[in-house]
């Protein structure tokens, strides 16, 4: 893993936020816009270092808030809390399991808007919250969970394509070579 992986993740966050702002099909059908940042945060915290988690929280959060009516920086803190918590126990988590990826994706997609709403409501903001918010959270959580394995699959492949490949071990050992004598 080299410096290109965090750059790929940040680029993916940038494109994800653009898509969330530009494509309304999902919002028009299900009444809620999906959020891809939590899925990316799960990938980052299970794959990369804590500095990458901090960078994704800051850059992703600021980019998200810049297109939203959120006060700037509100999304940074919830993203980082989630990323930090997952990264702290990443050694114990089953990164390769699809079910684990789904569970973490769903949980983070559900917790991220909840934390953000909590911060907004504890401040001066008055976000649009009602019974419909429960439906929106369910949709965001479920879709976030489904998209997390997809996110893992795509980013792992991109990483594999762009990073240095590990040298494959050969079974040949020079010390075990049978020297044939032609006498």
């Amino acid at each position: 893993m080299n410096a290109i992986t965090p750059i790929i993740v940040l680029l993916a966050a940038f494109i994800a936020i653009y898509f969330q702002s530009s494509f309304e099909m999902f919002r028009n059908i299900f009444g809620a816009q999906i959020d891809l940042l939590p899925a990316l945060m799960v990938y980052t915290s299970l794959t990369l270092g804590i500095i990458s988690v901090a960078l994704l929280s800051i850059i992703g959060g600021l980019l998200f808030d810049s297109l939203s009516a959120n006060p700037l920086g509100v999304s940074v803190v919830p993203l980082f809390i989630i990323g930090f918590a997952i990264h702290r126990f990443h050694g114990l988590l089953l990164r390769e399991q699809l079910s684990a990826q789904f569970a973490f994706g769903a949980a983070t997609s559900l917790l991220m808007p909840l934390f953000t709403l909590l911060i907004l409501m504890s401040g001066n903001s008055n976000p649009l919250v009602g019974w419909g918010t429960i439906w929106q959270l369910l949709v965001v959580g479920l879709v976030g969970g489904l998209l997390t394995p997809v996110c893992f699959w795509i980013l792992d492949r991109v990483n594999r394509a762009l990073n240095y490949q590990p040298i494959a071990q050969t079974s040949f050992r020079p010390d075990r070579e049978i020297k044939r004598n032609r006498r």
Binding site: I17, S22, Q33, I51, S66, S68, L72, N126, L128
Partner: protein, 270 residues
């Protein structure tokens, strides 16, 4: 126990969050617009590709369809001209009557409108805002009304050099002075966001309880507050209900403009 990189990350995020949260309102707004400027190439690319597709579509349209469309537009134009003449007559009659009654003359709004394209929508589910591709350079300022031919859309909340953020009807930060436009009832109140984030509705509140409000009555802007000119259609009353254990009444209004499929909007210059 935390490790050194974890402490560094914690401090980094805390410092960034503290700096941003303590920025003055104006600086934060400028900073926000500057950050959103990073997305401009993507928005521009999407817009130009859409235009190319539209142009291509127009070039391959058969001549018969175009002539039919042109005929329809010519007829519509004639009808609008006739309506305009009638309106001019009504305006002068209204002015004469006002003068004879000694009423103060209404200050007319300039009819200057600027067309803007909607380039993005709020990615968060708890706000109702859109981004448009016109800003300070096109003469837009904060609080200018935004509408479509169907009715009121909202008002401008923040302006950058080439783009602006529009608060849509139903956003918790948007309140509009409104009036029921009916020959029997003329009741004024305030239109504000509804409690549901899913529907295309707003609440009409702060009107007297004894008013005979009925479903289907149109609600227009009252002009109170000075942000919106009087007479822009907001929507139609859907139902009426009591609130706060029957102490107050509120009506739900279905927004006339389809806010879910906004592509182009008009910004009105006061």
């Amino acid at each position: 126990m935390l490790k050194k990189p974890q402490y560094i990350a914690l401090v980094l995020v805390a410092v960034v969050a503290l700096i941003i949260f303590n920025l003055p309102g104006e600086t934060m707004s400028r900073f926000k617009l500057a950050i959103s400027g990073i997305f401009l190439p993507l928005f521009g690319l999407a817009g130009s590709s859409q235009q190319v597709l539209q142009k291509t579509g127009n070039t391959i349209l058969p001549r018969s369809v175009l002539s039919k469309e042109s005929e329809r537009l010519r007829q519509e134009n004639e009808q609008l001209k006739i309506q305009l003449m009638q309106n001019a007559e009504l305006i002068s009659e209204n002015a004469t009557l006002r003068q004879s009654l000694g009423w103060q003359k209404q200050t007319p709004w300039k009819s200057k409108l600027t067309l803007a394209r909607v380039i993005g929508r709020d990615p968060a589910n708890w706000w109702r805002t859109v981004l448009i591709d016109a800003g300070e350079k096109q003469g837009l300022r904060v609080n200018y009304p935004v509408l479509t031919s169907d009715g009121l859309v909202g008002r401008i909340a923040a302006v950058g050099p080439n783009r602006a953020q529009v608060l849509l009807l139903g956003d918790p930060n948007l309140r509009v002075g409104a009036l029921i436009q009916d020959k029997d009832v003329r009741e004024s109140g305030i239109v504000l966001s509804s409690s549901g984030p899913l529907d295309n509705m707003v609440d009409f509140q702060y009107f007297s309880r004894n008013t005979a409000i009925k479903p289907g009555q149109p609600v227009i802007t009252s002009g109170d507050g000075g942000v919106f000119p009087k007479g822009i259609l907001i929507g139609q009353i859907v139902d009426i209900g009591s609130k706060n254990v029957g102490l107050s009444t509120e009506a739900r209004v279905k927004i006339a403009a389809n806010l879910n499929s906004l592509e182009e909007v008009w910004v009105m210059f006061p």
